[in-house]
Structure formats: structure tokens, C-alpha cells
Amino acid sequence: MDFGKFVWVASVSQDRLIKQGFFGKGTLSRSIPTWDARREQVNNPRLELAPEQVTAKRRSKRREQKQLRAGMQVTATNPEEMYTMEELAAWTGGRGYEQFQLDLYETFFLLYALDVLDLENKHGTKMTTTDCWSLFHQCTEQFAYHFAAYHYYRSQGWVPKDGLKFGVDFVLYQQGPTSKHSDFSVLVIPCVTTAVQDTSDHHDTTMQLLTQPHDQAPHASWVNLLRINRVCAHVKKTLVLCYVSMDASVAHKATNDPSVLNHCHIHEVVFRRWSPSANRE
């Protein structure tokens, strides 16, 4: 955890983790690790191009077309500005520098829900589920609520990935990032519910959004939601507000007891902008 808030997979099973659920990401690639393959291509040009190379080619072509349209001279890649893959292959001498990495939600899911992963601390001791839960809580605020949402979407067959690029918590893929762009972006809104009993013996529940003391603009405010929705609409994703609520009586032990997951409730709200004059469906 000194290095950061993620887990490096030590054994050689990364292939299985990718093929059986699209877990993990390569640290030098957009999603599945391709850096070693890109380096191998130097010796074997017939290998299929990695997605990163396809994108680079497309951008380079677009730049050339722009230059032609503007009547400018087309500039080739300047060897003083960029290394070729051949140069990097020679310099790195066959040593790999890409790590296959799982984020904390993927890790806990593999550990807790599927029981296919063991986590060792830096001394090499295997960590218990509760140890991992507590540690992950120290790394990420409101880990319990976010993990509940992750677990919820995983159990429905979605592949949730980090949504930082879009200003949300998760983006949902049907089959992993390599096949199709994600359609849904999820914003997790943690809430605490308290049962309120008034004088007439009538039970009611109030739900309160959980905000941290330093939040000046609670992230579920209207202004913030409008901002996030704009971004999501631009990238053709539908925004889903995922309210994860826990009763106050259990919420206090959320940081060190995974069993609170059994007491979470999830309500989803799809958030779409509607313009009365534009949409006539």
C-alpha cells in the first residue's frame, strides 16, 4: 500500500483474470496489458497490432490529412522526439516494465465473492478478508458503499471499471473495455438511513446523504449532477445514480466489518436531460 492503492498480481494467472471477467489493467496500456506484445512485434511484424498502436496510427493519419488540407508539408515522426519500438526493445533488453494491476474493488470481489485470490502483505503473510477490508477502508473513503455498488453490478453480469476519465465512480461494460465502449456511467451516492419514530408509534425512515465534513459542494448537488450529466452525454453514456444506503445502526462498523454488505440497500435512478422542445417521443 506504500506504492499506491492497487494490487499487483504475482502469479501467471493474469490471462484467466482477463478472459474470465476482464479483471485488471496493464499499467502501460489502455486496458489489457499489451506493452510486451508491442515490443515483441519488433521481432515479429506479422503479429496483430495492439489497440494502442491502432489508435496511434489513426491519429497520425488524421494529423497528416490536416497538414495536407492546410497546405503544409507533411512532417514525418521526428527521431529526436520519439523512440521507436526497436530502440525501446533494445534499451529495455527484454525486461518487462508493465505490471498487471487490479484495483481495490476487483481485488475484494475476487477475494470475497469468488474466493479465487489470496492477498499477501509486504511481509509475505496471507491477509484475512477482514484485514483486507479494513486496509482498503484506510485507502479509500467510503469503500463499503462503493464496493457494494461494484458487487451489485458484477453480480448482474456487468464489468464495472474505474470512471475517473468521465468524472464518475464506475463505467459499466457489457464485455470488457476491449470490445465495445461502455454505455452506462455510475455515480455512487452513499446514504445512511435512520428509523424515526414519531409520537403516534408510526415508523418512518429518513435517508441522509453521507457527506464528508470537508465537502463544500456535496457531490450529489444539482449543480454537480448537471455537470457530470453533460460530460456523460458528450461521450454517449447514460448516467445512473446508485444510492447505496446502510442503516445507521450498522454504518458505524462499516470500516472494519465486511458483513455490513448484507445490510446495504441499492436504489438506482437514471438521470437524463430532457428538452421539451427537442424531444418529441
Binding site: L28, W35, Y83
Partner: protein, 136 residues
């Protein structure tokens, strides 16, 4: 190249570790720029007033003298307009100019925000208003 990449990284470690808290993020952004994006001109510069290293890098297909000042950050670190203003001020007084780069009053800062899944998001932050670029 006579020295291996591993030796080159070993040479850089003392500079990277000068600021231990941000060292993992700096290392990651450095590898992303050099190994993934294949940029050739990437230097690490310590900025004591920022308690962080910045990367001084030349972006391919930009004018030869241009350099980006890239500051790696953890995505959980909060930012505000005041904080960004303070970063600009500290960078200006830190004198990044040297004979070859001619960097004067810094007008553009690039944040390299490292997410929890190792994605690096690069954002340019300009000081003040910038007119829209003309599209070809």
C-alpha cells in the same frame, strides 16, 4: 545506448525518491511517457517549494523549443483554483529557465492525474483566459 534502461532508472531513483510521497506517481508517469508514449525528451526536475518533482518534457509534433511542465498527482488530492494559482507561483519562482529551454513566466501547466487503475489523465491548465484554437 550503453547503459540498460534498468541502469538508467537506477540513476534516476535518488531524484525520484527526493520526495517519497509522490515518488510512485512520478515513476508511473515517467514510465508512461517514455515506454508507452515513447517520448524521447523527458527530464525530471525537483521543485523544493512544491515538495515535488516535475517532468519537463517535449511533446512530439510541437515546436522544438516547447516544453511541457508536467506535475504528477494522485487523483484523491483535492485541487482548487487557489491551489492551482499557488502551484503556478511556486513554479515561477523556482526558475525552470535554463539556457536550452527558455521557459519564462509559466503560462501552461500540465497535471498528470493518476487514477486508482493506473490510468494517467493529462490536463493542461492555462494561467488566465486562452482564445480558442483555430481548427484547420
Amino acid at each position: 545506448m550503453d547503459r540498460s534502461f534498468q541502469d538508467h532508472l537506477a540513476d534516476l531513483e535518488p531524484i525520484i525518491n527526493r520526495y517519497p510521497t509522490s515518488a510512485p506517481f512520478l515513476r508511473h508517469v515517467y514510465l508512461d511517457l517514455v515506454l508507452n508514449k515513447q517520448w524521447k525528451q523527458v527530464e525530471i526536475k525537483p521543485i523544493d517549494s512544491l515538495v515535488a518533482n516535475v517532468l519537463l518534457a517535449h511533446e512530439p509534433n510541437t515546436p522544438a523549443e516547447d516544453r511541457l511542465v508536467i506535475l504528477p498527482r494522485d487523483h484523491r488530492e483535492k485541487l482548487s483554483t487557489d491551489a492551482i494559482q499557488a502551484i503556478f507561483e511556486k513554479l515561477n519562482t523556482a526558475h525552470l529557465d535554463d539556457d536550452s529551454t527558455h521557459l519564462h513566466q509559466l503560462k501552461k501547466l500540465t497535471l498528470a492525474i493518476v487514477g486508482s487503475d493506473s490510468t494517467v489523465l493529462y490536463y493542461h491548465i492555462h494561467k488566465g483566459l486562452v482564445p480558442p484554437k483555430e481548427h484547420v
